[in-house]
Amino acid sequence: MNLALDIFTVLAVSAGAFFFLAGTVGLLRFPDPLTRLHALTKVDNLGLGLIVLGLLPRADGLLAALKLVSVWLLVQLCGAIVTQLIARVVRRDGSRA
């Protein structure tokens, strides 16, 4: 059982790290601000989400697990809104950044 949980943690955190890597590559390589934002959102929700998911079995107690999930939810909320705000500025001013 413990081994299964460990494997689950390793797999989920590795998948999360992969999304972080992919998002960073996208941020550096994509041509314009909107696609770069698109790459970043993957990091926010999938990357962090998978890492939180992988760490859940390691949290001591339900409260700590809830804290992890709420960190993810807060990052989701703020990430989505900041992305929207940046995208609006880009659409208004054109993509000269």
């Binding site: 807060l74 909320l77 703020c78 809104i81 929207q84 609006r88």
Partner: protein, 311 residues
């Protein structure tokens, strides 16, 4: 494994610090500075100084970052193309910085073997104050005069910002830019986030007596929520002449000072607490300070007055 993490952290922090200096564009440099502050707070966590980490993230990175962004936005209008400095001046400043770095390195490398520390004494006597967090103990019991003066410095900083106002705008409304849109997604954030943020701020202040946290960190979170609501245009920015604002700003320091003065009569020394009442008094001071710090930091970030309110 953890050594590898630490080395990577230090390398990243140094790289970001260099980036902050190297960047010509003020805006990009400020963004790098904020990221640098967050890395620094991670470093404090690695050193098990969670109180310092929270303060660094909240003040060093958050509020300072916002103040610097405001300054960068103001300076953008006046920014002139960078003038090339002459070689002698460059050499002189480079040499001067090298001397300072060498002196600092010498102080760190050739420090006396045993640095004098009072930490064991603090831990031995902490129980008498009823507090569980040694940092709060040092701040409010052993070094309470420093803590009091720190709050007064914050007040002076606010007076300094306000004094930038031209005479005709004295008592007017700070020039914080408002991004209020009817469909505004920012307005949505400013409605959803503050209930959570205010709870976190109050929790940080309350838990500060026993665990990492405290008035400064809690107050900063409260200030951030207030600023968010003002920037989204959900609440008006108060005029700096408003009596209520001014009372809130001095409320914490005045209560702190009053309790300190009462200590002269009741406990025999300025800022001493009567036996058995230390913890309730400290918590009372922390609560009032949190409120005052929140309002003061909010007004600091809002800047000097730029228009008069409708009377």
């Amino acid at each position: 494994m953890s050594a590898a993490f630490d080395i990577a952290l230090v390398a990243l922090a140094l790289a970001l610090a260099a980036w902050t200096i190297a960047f010509r564009d003020a805006f990009a440099a400020v963004i790098a500075f904020v990221a640098y502050g967050l890395l620094l707070s991670l470093a404090w966590v690695r050193l098990s100084a969670v109180d310092v980490a929270l303060t660094e993230a909240a003040i060093g990175s958050g509020v300072t970052g916002m103040l610097l962004l405001g300054a960068a936005a103001r300076l953008r209008r006046t920014e002139t193309p960078v003038t090339e400095t002459g070689t002698p001046l460059r050499l002189a400043s480079g040499g001067f910085c090298a001397v300072i770095s060498a002196c600092l390195a010498a102080v760190v490398l050739f420090a006396s073997d045993l640095a004098p520390t009072l930490a064991p004494d603090v831990m031995a006597n902490l129980a008498a104050s009823g507090l569980g967090n040694p940092v709060a103990g040092v701040l409010f019991v052993y070094r309470s005069l420093d803590t009091l003066l720190e709050k007064v410095v914050l007040l002076l900083a606010l007076v300094g910002v306000w004094s930038l106002a031209p005479d005709r705008l004295w008592g007017g409304i700070p020039g914080l830019r408002v991004y209020g849109q009817p469909s505004g997604i920012l307005a949505f954030l400013a409605q959803v986030l503050p209930p959570i943020g205010i709870m976190v701020g109050i929790y940080m202040c309350w838990t500060g007596a026993s665990y990492p946290g405290g008035a400064f960190q809690g107050g900063t979170v409260l200030a951030a929520m207030w600023l968010l609501v003002m920037i989204a245009g959900l609440r008006d920015i108060p005029a700096i002449g408003s009596r209520r604002m001014r009372l809130l700003v001095v409320f914490g320091p005045v209560i702190f000072l009053a309790i300190g003065l009462a200590g002269v009569g009741l406990a025999g020394a300025f800022l001493a607490y009567p036996a058995g009442y230390a913890k309730p008094l400290i918590v009372a001071v922390e609560v009032t300070l949190t409120l005052s710090i929140g309002v003061t930091l909010g007004l600091l970030a809002a800047g000097p007055p730029e228009r008069m309110g409708q009377r």
